[in-house]
Amino acid sequence: MTAVEVVLICVAAALACALLRGTHPELATGVALAGGIAALYLLRTDLQAVAELLGQLAEEARLREGHAALLLKASGIALVSEFGADLCRDAGERALAGRIELGTRVVLLAMAAPLLRELFALIGALTA
């Protein structure tokens, strides 16, 4: 049912945007944003279920402390940034969409830095 609700909300938001874009383009962006947030809100239960499943898998995987959370966080950031960048593109703000993507990449690379350091240390220890 959630999927049908999401489809209906998105189609309705798309129709509203199409109607508003000619007369009130600023409102069209707001409607698109509201539609996207509503769709994500409806999906939150399923997203939580997926996150829990991945958390359980991470526990079974016996990854080092913090690694599983880091991976989940990286995936979440990628999802949110994609959503934000798409919205900016819809609003005709390609430059802003690019900045969002750049910011996301920088944040993710900063998150990956401890992993990279740990990997270098491990390889260094093995080859020493």
């Binding site: 690694h67 990286a74 390889i123």
Partner: protein, 373 residues
């Protein structure tokens, strides 16, 4: 005249008694009890082997060790299953980053997703590198322990070889075997794992950066490792074989000369004394072979677990790579496959070292045959 004949008959009877096989076995058992197996016991204790070395040696001398192929196979199966279960714990750790990367790519699919995939690739590399480190430590430890066992058993074998009439071979082989053993353990137990780690680093670098094509370099390094292992093994085994053959010629000549002298210079009882000489040499050879087989059994007991563990890890990583391919995670699948290749190389090094040590012990068993009729 009659008294002299009786004395001669008594001597003959005694010598025949000495040549009796049962008596020879008793002599061998006495020789076993007189042997100093302390260093070998100490090496077995250090390797945490729950084995009674003197009892094992006595068992091999008397032939009372039940070597039932079925029970051996069952034990090997149980060991492999234990190793497999232990390695399988790494499987979710290797698969989870691939799963998350695939999920992110499907849900997001932009540039942010590609960086998230990169983070997942890093986490996967860390999990696989941790597995490699565990294997390297386990193999390195086992090879050092086997070197300890081999170095404890070589002097024993050299002494017994000398007692069985192959003194020249013993003196030639003792130093060469010690050199070959140390070289093999250093080469395959210290240099080899480092080489594998370098290969793993190349595999990670190639997978993390799609623009960096390191396929040929990785292949070259893997091939070089295999060739080096083959060449080192051939050289060390060849060296020992040549030494053994050279020594065997001297020993055969000296023992035959001694036997000829006893047989011909001692009137009446010369033939019997020569036979007794053969019986004594046979007893020493029996004990030498038992000591060699005991050393082999200890080496196998120490090495079997790490080798099975490495084999299980190799299969596990191959399975993971196969499972990653349908997810569309080519970089992670390629990295996992290359890690499997690195582990295969590690397995080759560890197997080469184990086989090398077994062959060294085998050379001691083979030489000295020509000393006895």
């Amino acid at each position: 005249m009659r008294t002299a004949a009786r004395c001669a008959l008594l001597c003959l009877a005694l010598l025949l008694l000495c040549a009796d096989p049962v008596r020879a076995e008793q002599d061998a058992q006495r020789l076993v009890e007189a042997l100093d197996v302390g260093p070998l016991e100490h090496a077995a204790e250090e390797a945490e082997l729950d084995l009674n070395v003197p009892a094992l040696l006595r068992g091999f001398v008397t032939g009372e060790i039940p070597l039932d192929p079925d029970s051996l196979l069952q034990k090997a199966r149980a060991l492999f299953l234990a190793a497999w279960q232990r390695t399988l714990a790494f499987f979710p750790g290797v698969m989870l980053p691939a799963l998350l990367a695939a999920l992110t790519a499907r849900l997001a699919g932009g540039r942010g997703a590609s960086v998230a995939q990169y983070v997942c690739c890093l986490a996967g590399a860390l999990a696989e590198a941790a597995l490699l480190r565990e294997l390297i430590e386990s193999i390195g430890g086992a090879l050092r322990q086997t070197a300890g066992i081999a170095e404890a058993v070589f002097p024993l074998l050299a002494g017994l070889l000398a007692a069985s009439g192959a003194g020249t071979t013993a003196s030639m082989l003792a130093s060469t075997a010690a050199f070959a053993c140390r070289s093999a353990v250093h080469l395959f137990g210290t240099v080899g794992p480092r080489y594998c780690a370098i290969n793993a680093a190349v595999a990670i670098a190639g997978s993390l950066n799609p623009r960096l094509s390191l396929n040929k370099l990785f292949g070259l390094l893997a091939d070089l490792g295999k060739w080096a292992a083959g060449i080192a093994m051939t050289f060390l085994v060849g060296l020992l074989s040549v030494q053994g053959l050279l020594g065997a010629g001297y020993d055969s000549a000296s023992v035959r000369a001694a036997r000829y002298a006893v047989d011909n210079l001692l009137p009446v009882i010369g033939g019997e004394v020569a036979d007794t000489l053969d019986a004594i040499i046979s007893s020493a050879r029996l004990v030498k072979n038992a000591a060699g087989v005991t050393g082999m059994a200890l080496v196998v007991a120490v090495c079997v677990r790490p080798l099975l563990r490495t084999t299980a890890a190799l299969i596990c990583l191959r399975l993971a790579a196969a499972a990653m391919e349908p997810l569309g995670e080519d970089a992670l699948a390629q990295m996992t496959e290359r890690f499997a290749e690195v582990i295969r190389l590690l397995l080759i090094f560890a197997s080469a070292c184990t086989v090398q040590l077994l062959l060294l012990l085998g050379v001691f068993l083979v030489v000295g045959k020509s000393a006895v009729r």
